[in-house]
Every structure is written in structure tokens, then in C-alpha cells.
Symmetry: C2
Subunit: 470 residues, 2 copies
Amino acid sequence: MLFDPLTLNGLTLPNRICVPAMVTRLCGEDGFVNADITDRYMAFARGEAGLIVVEAMAVHRSKSGPLLRICGDEFKPGLSELARKMHAISPSKVAPQIIHFLKISRSGWRQKVSDLSIGDIKQIVREYAQAALRARECGFDAVELHMAHAYTLSSFLSRLNARRDDYGGSLENRLRAPLEVLAAVRAAVGRDFAVGIRFDADECIKGGYTVEESRAIALRLAQVGADWLSLSAGGKFEDAQAREGEPLYPYTGYSGERTMPGASYPDGANLYMAEGVKAYLRAHGVKTPVLATGKIGTPELAERVLREGHADLIGIARPILADPMWPKKTREGRFDKVIRCCYANVCKARDEHFQTVSCFLWPKGAKQAPQSDDSVAPVWPAEGASLSAAREHGRVVLHWNPATDNEAVYGYDVWREELGQWRRLSALPSGITQYHDAGAIPGISYAYRVQAYDFAGNRSEVSNIANLGA
Amino acid sequence: MLFDPLTLNGLTLPNRICVPAMVTRLCGEDGFVNADITDRYMAFARGEAGLIVVEAMAVHRSKSGPLLRICGDEFKPGLSELARKMHAISPSKVAPQIIHFLKISRSGWRQKVSDLSIGDIKQIVREYAQAALRARECGFDAVELHMAHAYTLSSFLSRLNARRDDYGGSLENRLRAPLEVLAAVRAAVGRDFAVGIRFDADECIKGGYTVEESRAIALRLAQVGADWLSLSAGGKFEDAQAREGEPLYPYTGYSGERTMPGASYPDGANLYMAEGVKAYLRAHGVKTPVLATGKIGTPELAERVLREGHADLIGIARPILADPMWPKKTREGRFDKVIRCCYANVCKARDEHFQTVSCFLWPKGAKQAPQSDDSVAPVWPAEGASLSAAREHGRVVLHWNPATDNEAVYGYDVWREELGQWRRLSALPSGITQYHDAGAIPGISYAYRVQAYDFAGNRSEVSNIANLGA
């Protein structure tokens, strides 16, 4: 089902894979599309996901760090050119994510939705509508309204919205500004343009809302005209970790960890949200597609989610950052050639430290994922991989021989077997030929194996299997 | 299945309901059992849960607020008397929860596991073993080792355990002190005494472990001899909210909210933990019973969890605080007579503010749940309940007439219907005859009803149904 088309308000996506909006920090403070941004999205376009959501761009002129902008007509040529170029090489549909955020200072002060006048709210509504219209005029296929994480519309939806007027207090009131935005966007872009919404299905903060309310939020957004509902989680200011001399940044606390669940989380850690939301929509007879995200890294898991009906679209962010060709390789039956995300969240850490976002697995210093059409796989030396595994000081320590390749060895996948199931533990960049498994316990027998890969994802033979008794 | 017996290492519980350890703050700083403590647990005993876990008692002499102690033989008479009295009136099995905690000061400083010498660790191991032996000598049926939340053994298990020696770093090392405690306890109490463990199945903090690791922790604890595994969540210092002049208290942050999910959470909010842990144990051929907790408030939900095999025991804390007769009334087919918890978490808030723990639904100032054998139900006045529902300022506002009762009206249950399903929204103490539903949205048709109840849980007729269009 992952490669079945899906139609959103007349817009047919060639498949069910979505690249959700991912911050890049590749853009300048001027907010214009530049060569690095273009390279990033052209790589995604070559991967042929059904829907590519271009990173959040500001609907207003508020000061910010590097951030794309769609707050004036001067940004349209660059954005139009990006859309044109992506369409020229790819069947992917492309939608910008548009965002409004409040002010924040290094002193720790931040503006809250309760500080906004009614005039301010009306202004935000207008800015969203104008930005959405610009998105359509630029040749994008759809637009996604950012109502997630720590940003303005999410803060209206939040259970911590402290307004005491018609824009806060009850769920209906918390929905008011987001729904006014949606209605104004719809009026601006017309009935025949797909408008999606990304919002938190679980705030993951103290006093925040959970699926109990987000399912009702989803229903209301769908009733008022959202064409798809993209579910995220957390990413809030309330639990962000303050860092000396830096403005408070969401995603630095626990709720940020829940936005991008890392290696310590189970696969599909946020799927309960899509299940809860979608079941509720369907019980109310609402058919709006639901997009699930959160550590869905394999076609098997993505397919299962679709087959079981828990979501209609699968957001795959970090794995497609690691290997932009994930969708195409998978469609062609070559998932075994995918460079696989290890959820080390170095991308997330770089963003938190205001650095350009790259992948831990990429060659050191690379701005983009490497490309290669090479078809020759790495090989182990004559004596083989000689993988060994031993318990040392409470860890299992693996050592193996380096592989070689006609181009270059790019990295190694490390696998562990338990109860007959092989599971990929991690990936390591070339040059590292040992791994410490800190999660193995006595009382279980494990087996390990490693495999080398090159830039094209060609895999070496599987190493010898190193067994470790209980 | 909820009323099927279950045998734990030779100890047969008459049913699958457990009252998990709940802080009461009823005890003095001297740590002895007093009349209020006795009243609290005698009420639970009359309710006839299969297993009653008596609130955490300290294995050591460290200074603390009001907290039971089992750290010396002088505490044995009081504890023995408590066990004897509970057994005299009830088939319930009774186990004390025993705890070690580290030092904390009002200045904000707190001792960490990384501050402990090897000698300190050995001392903790001895203290647990001695305390567990005392528990057996006092006539308790079992003992539960507290390895959850912000306390010493949980901090060893934590992914944030910062020790660099054999007691930290890897999962095996983080398990070392807890397993030494378990082994020493087992050696002290003998093979034929049931020893349970309560631990976090999800730390719910940044950098903490999730079910990915807790399932392995559970397996190892079971292999080394735990007779039941009671799953909790969160309750950590790392995200606790500092309050001026007070020592830092766990449960005040998001992770504490996850320990006792309140009204904004779905029912059974933590069940994914039991599902994940139990499936893993069984896949490894380990049959140790798993106890699930977290907003399991109805026999229907408890029964479903057991029937679907996701847990073997059901922890019901706040609902049994609200009505200690929950198990007995339910077994007798009189769940309709249960005073039902509304998860307002006033009990939790009182604990956070260092007040004695009572229930929001109890009569004002009551130290214990009221008792009554009355069988006459409250009645509505001649003109009926006259329940009305109207949307006002983004809320649905309900009003109704007060009921009367031969003894006293104790409170009202408020119900809402959506898609043909009636769901209890809240309960309100007598004297309040209006309710604001802040979670209703336009676009859905709802219906409402209320019902009055007395101290015995006798319910009035259902009120008229107030309908509210979309």
C-alpha cells in the first residue's frame, strides 16, 4: 500500500510517503532560497516521495535566525524556482510548511499567546492567508499550516494557553484562532487547493493535552476543511532547557525528544497517536487522511501501519535525510541498498546548537547526502571480517576487520539477534571498526553480525556471526 | 478473570486486584504505625483486594518527612499489629513496599547514585535484606522492593545513572545494585516468600529509558527471582519543579504526571508498557506475573487487559482511595454502587504540597473515605433534575436541581454521550449543581446526564437527558 497513490482534494500523490518539514538551517538570515536549500530539496525530489514538505517558512517579518520566508512577494521568485526545479525532475508533490512564531529574547523573555491583542490575532490570520496564496502562486501543489510544537497556532491549541477571552480556556476557544487561520487560508487559496495541517497529537508536557483532546482537535480541523492531518508530538518551550547566552529553543527538553524519538525509543513510538486520532475521525464519518510520523524507518513497519488502517500517509524524516533515495530504492525493491538512519539524532543535536543540519552518517563536513551509481559492493579482507564479541565491564564489545571498496567504504551496519530475530542496532561511519553494545544483559544469548556499505548502499557479504552465550 | 486467584511463589491472592503503594502522609516523623495509618489500611482490607501494598517504608534511618519505617526492630510491633489486624478481617494479602532514598536538601542539592561509595552500596544492600526479613517476621505475606521513580534503586537503573564503574554505564551495570539487593533479599527471606518489584517501565524524562530497555530490566529481575513485576512510570527528580523553600519533590513535573495520569489522559494510558514488557517476558519463556497500573478505573477495562493477556494483575490506586470497597462491590456485582474516582488528582496535589493525602470526593476535612450501609438512594425533587445544557463562551454549561437523601447526598456523576457511547466526565461533591464542560467542540452532537449518589454509593434515578446539537 505504501506505493499506492492517494488523492488529497484533487491532488494525487504518487505514493504514501511524505518527507515532513525538517529544519535545515541552510538558508541565510535574509530568508531567500539559496543553492544549499535547493540542493537539499532536489535530493529529496530525486527520491520521489509522494509528498515533500519544504521546511517551515515564515508568514511574517519577525526577526529570526536562518529561516525561509514567504512573507512578501520578493520571496516568490526563489520559491517558484525551487518548485519548478523539483517538479522538473520528480513526480513528487511539493508543499511548503508555513509558520508564525512569537518573539523571544536571549534574556529568557518570550511572548505568549496571552500577550496578543485581538488585532494581533487578526493580523496573524491575514498573514497566513497571504502566505498560503503566495504558495499557490509559486506553483507549489499544496500548503501545510504549522500548528505544531512551540509556535503560535500550537500555543493557541495548547492546554496551557492562558487567555481568558474567546481565544483560550475551553477547547472550542483554543481552536478559534487556528480555525480562523484555516478558514482564511481556504478563502485565499480557493476550494481546489490542498491545505494540510501539522499539529501535536500529544503535547508531552505537564498540563498539556493528550490524544483525548487531539482527536477532537483533528475532527474539528477536518470538519472546517483540512485536507490532511499530519501528527507530530511535543517540541514545546515549557520544558526546553535554558542555555547560557542562547534564546530558549524548543526540542531541547523531553517533549522535543518525543518529537524525534531517538535510538532509545521503540520503533513507531508515536503510532498510538495516529491510531487514536484516526479511529475517532472515522467513527465520526470523517475520511480526512492522517499522516503518522515518529521513528518509522522501514517499509515493513510503514506497510503494517497502512494495512492496519492506523494512518493513510507515512512521514519519514530522518531516514530520508540519511538517504534521500529511500522512497525510490524501496519502490524498486532495493531497500537493501538504503543507507539506514541509526536514530543517533546528531541531526537534532546540530539543530539544537544552531548548526546546519546534516546526518551523522554522511562523510565528515558534507552538506548533503553523497550520491553514487557504483554497483560494486565493499569486500572483506582475505581473512574475512573476523567479527568478535565479548562481554567486558558490563558491555558487549565487538571488533571487526575493515572492509575495502572500489570507491570508498561509507559505513557499517551492526546487527544483533535475539530469539531468532535480527535487529539492526546501529550504523557507524567508515573508519570505526568496533562497537560497544551497552544494552545487552546477561541471561540472554545474542548473536551479532556486521555488514559494510558504500555510497550507493551496496552491501558487503554479511560478516561471520559472533555468538555470545547467556 | 479479575476475580480469579493468582499464585505468586506459593502465595495465593484471592483476586487479581492490587492496591499499589500510595503515599498517605498520615504517619508521624517517628515512622511508627499510628491510628490514622491503621484506619487507612483497614479500609483497604475491608475492600478485599487480592494484594494490598502498604505505602513505602524506609529501610534506613535517613531523615525524612512523615514516612513509615522498617529500619529497626523497634518498628516491628506496630507493623506486626497492622498486618494482624488486616488479616483478621480480610482475605487480602498484604505486602509492605520497602524503600531506600538518597539525601536531599532545601538548598537544591541532592545526593546522586554517583556519589555513593562501594561501601555505601553494600550497606544499602544489607539494609534492604534486613528490612525484607523484618517484613516476613512481622507477618506480612510478601514484600515489594521499590525500584521506581526518583529513589535509589531506580536511579541506579536509570539511563541517567552517571557512575563510571561497574554500577553504571551499561544496562548490565545499571542493573547490578538492584540485582544485588534482590539476591540479598532472597537470601534473607528464603525461597518460599514472595518478593515483588515495582519499577519504572518508562522513565518519561529526557535521556531516560523506555520500554526498549525496561523489558530487558524486567526479564533480568524475573530471572534473578522477582515473583511479580509491578510497572510504574516517571516520578523523577530530573524534571521536578523547584518550589521556593521546599526540597525538590518528584511527581511535580511531567514525569510525575505520567506516574498518575489525570483526567486529561486516556484510560489505561500506561498499558503499552505492560503489553511490551509482558510480551517480551513470555517470548523468553518467563512466566513472572506483570502488574499494570495507570488510570485503570473500571472492571470492564481491567477485565479486558487480563483477557487480552497484557497483564496478570491490575493495580487500582486512586479509585480504591476514592472508594476502598471498589473490589468487594465489584465482585458482588455492585460496581454501580462504587464511588468513582474522577482523576482530578487532588490526592496527588495534596501530596505535592506535603499535606495528608485524601480524596477530593470525600466530605470536606475527612481523613478517610466515609462508610455507610444505607440502602436508600437519593431522589430528585418533584420537578425532577431539570438538567440543562447550553453552549456559553466556548463551554457547555450544565445546571441541575439538587437531589436529597435520607442520610446525605455525597455527590454527582456527570456523563456525556457521543456517538451512542456514554462516558463519565467527572464527579462533583454535593453542593455543586453545575458543571462546565471545557472539552466539548462544535461540530459534534452531545447528550448529558447526571446522577446523584450517597455515602453507600446508592444512585438516584438518572436525570433527564440534555441534548446539545452540533
